[in-house]
């Protein structure tokens, strides 16, 4: 599974992207976040306030209950500020 972090999530996790294989039970975006938070204080800081975080799976905006599968591209980021 390819994970991408943007804006201050990137700063907190300390990486822009990584390739990870979450355990089998991690089947939704929400479960993925819970699992990521076990990976260290940087992840805990990044995902401390889920209200301020948006997610995309395979480049579509999704909610926390959206399924994730091996091979997916999953991105986390704050609300957009373009334009």
């Amino acid at each position: 599974m390819k994970l991408l972090y943007f804006a201050w999530l990137k700063t907190r996790t300390g990486r822009a992207e990584e390739e990870l294989s979450p355990p089998d039970g991690v089947a939704t975006v929400g479960a993925l976040v819970d699992w990521l938070k076990t990976r260290g204080p940087g992840y805990q800081a990044a995902f401390a306030e889920m209200r301020a975080i948006r997610a995309a799976v395979n480049q579509e905006y999704v909610g926390l209950d959206h399924p994730v599968r091996p091979g997916d591209e999953v991105a986390f980021f704050p609300p957009m500020t373009g334009g």
Partner: protein
């Protein structure tokens, strides 16, 4: 048409190219977004625009497609920059050409409102006090919400 690029763009050249040879176009409305030297009362030295390559192009193309469904558009263009930009620099260009000027105005405003809330860009500002990520404005959500179809329209 959609372009996401680090380089600056030339609004006049883009305007001319978009309608070149198409004499059915009566009105062309464009929006150019610029980096302001102040934000939230603080002087800004520069800002850096980060984006999600691939998804950005996809979302901008979706937004453009949606505008073309809603209004009679002859031609349209969205150019959005990323990277470090100083005050006065151009950030974004949206052009809509139509044979109906009101359609061109509405579609251009729609595209600008939607790309602010739907396109995966994030701004980091540099001030005297350091750098910080810009928070999304609720007024941008409100502006985008203007264009959301009411339930009874969605059925049409």
């Amino acid at each position: 048409m959609i372009r996401v690029q680090r380089e600056d763009f030339d609004p006049g050249a883009e305007l001319a190219a978009l309608t070149a040879g198409d004499h059915s176009v009566g009105g062309v409305v464009s929006f150019v977004g610029l980096v302001r030297d102040m934000a939230a009362g603080q002087p800004i030295r520069a800002m850096t625009l980060e984006h999600y390559p691939g998804m950005t192009e996809k979302k901008l193309a979706e937004i453009e497609t949606e505008a073309r469904k809603r209004w009679p558009i002859e031609a349209s263009l969205i150019v959005h920059r990323y990277g470090r930009l100083e005050p006065g620099a151009r950030i974004v260009l949206v052009i809509v050409a139509s044979s109906h000027r009101q359609a061109a105005f509405e579609a251009c405003a729609f595209l600008v409102d939607w790309l602010k809330t739907q396109a995966p860009f994030w701004k980091e500002e540099e001030t005297e006090a350091g750098t910080h990520w810009v928070e999304a404005k609720s007024e941008d959500d409100d502006a985008a919400a203007r264009w959301r179809k009411r339930p009874n329209e969605a059925a049409e």
